[in-house]
Amino acid sequence: MIFGTHTKYRVFKDSLARRIMLGLTVFSLLLAVIVGLSLYFKSSSILHEHSLWSLLSGSSWRPFKGEFGFYPFIMGTLWVTAISIFIALPLCILTSIFLSEYAHPYIKKIVFPLIDILAGIPPVVYGVWGILVVVPFISEKLAPHFVEFSSGYSVLAGGIVLAIMIMPLIISILIEIFAAIPKELRDASLSLGATNWQTVKFVVLRKSLPGIVAAIVLAVSRAFGETIAVLMVCGNMSAVPKSVFDSGYPLPALIANNYGEMMSLPLYDSALMLAALILFVIILIFNAASRIILTRIERRFAL
């Protein structure tokens, strides 16, 4: 029975492949857990020494004296993120509305690839641009109107660079959300005599509010984690910034800048891993929340 054994062989191959693939799928699912746990174990030694609260609220960062206050870095991250969202969001909403509601298909055909390119530019190149253009602009043109002196390496520079980096992400999500709104709703509004803008204002924007929130959350989490570009233009001084022209020191930059030397000091290593863990947890929660909202929206309109 050659045929019989051949069939058995094929069925065996099928079930073997199924098991291997199931294993890899479960592995990909567990990856987040593995990353989280290993960061947690690495940072546990500093959590034994200090309470989480004292670490988060402490403002003094002197690793060689055993002082690990994350407060300036958390504030640095928040400043940069807030500035970038503040700049990016209005521009992105306007552009997305323009592209999805007003623009001629021909314009879309040109603009979409350009936004794709913007999305593809590596962070380090954004950093180069920041150093070449944004930093001098701030220190020479902008800052003198407001403060006595700024090197230009500031949370504002970081915010501007970051704003442009997160724009493609926001735009692409917003366009998808706007596209998901049924045409009938717009037609209904237009046939009542509303102008295009009124339709956008009262129908499109209102209907896509949850989606916009999800897009913002996703953008915030992206901004939180961005490292190199921000690191290159932010100044990296471990003090809480008092104005947008002050230097800041976001968490990712802290990790990136100090990795080389931390090995000599176990607690230092642990502190940086805690910084990574904080980033990881916040971003994980933000991401999961916004993705769940976005999938819900997709499903609701798909029906």
């Binding site: 045929f3 051949h6 069939t7 094929r10 069925v11």
Partner: protein, 296 residues
Amino acid sequence: MNTRLLKSENIIASSMNNGKDVFLLEEGAEAQVRTLLLQKTKLDLTAPHISVKNLNVHLQKKHVLKDVNLDIPNKAITCIIGPSGCGKTTLLKTFNRLLEQSVDVKIDGHVFVDGEDIHDKNVEIINIRKKMGLLSQRPCPLPMSIFDNIAYGPRIHGNRNMKELSRLVENYLKAAGLWDEVKDRLHSPANRLSIGQQQRLCLARGLAVEPEIILGDEATSALDPISSKKIEELFVELKRDYSIILVTHTLRQARRIADYVVFMYLGEVIEAGSADEIFNNPQKELTREYISGAFS
């Protein structure tokens, strides 16, 4: 019936059965064979090819097939008719166990093919499927060349001999009446064919795994009239060697080619019988109304 004709018939029959011989019909004989075959087959229900016993199917908690009991005659065309949503396609997909690919399916009851319960634990699902060729509503060529489409089945079932494969491909393309149209471009992608040609390709592909049964799920509904006529003619020729089960909701098609008709309504088999009985003397009021076009 002259001897020449008989011989050609035998050649067709043998080639269909083992797929090894290349059959060549003499000029003029083909037409005669066709008229001969067009006569309705005598039904023999003492040894049904497929036998369904108390089949109940729930799809996502909905009861889509209710207590179906049915015998499908051997080597004849069975048409399953009924309004859309009555469970025709579900029944068809139960036969080759494709239904199990869907989500949340519960199947109770028995389906016997050649006396073997297809849901038995010891039955290998791929052997069940190999017994049945499926033609779906829209032709679905695999993303490969015409040749590879036909050879796909034999290949996965272990035939690697290139010479033999070429012969099989030619053989079954001929059986599906497609050979003359594609013989010069066997290695071009199958999706460049017209939709009617694609459907015949799918038929040839199904025949190439040497099934006993052909399942058609509204196999002509996406085709133009000429292509669908060709397919119908092919079915009529093929019933010499295969049991053919067609789901259709064009009554006229069933009238033209069916030997045996099953009428389904809301998941139940209302009536089943020879084409003559169902179309000319239905026993149930519902069947009568459907046949007369009171609803569709």
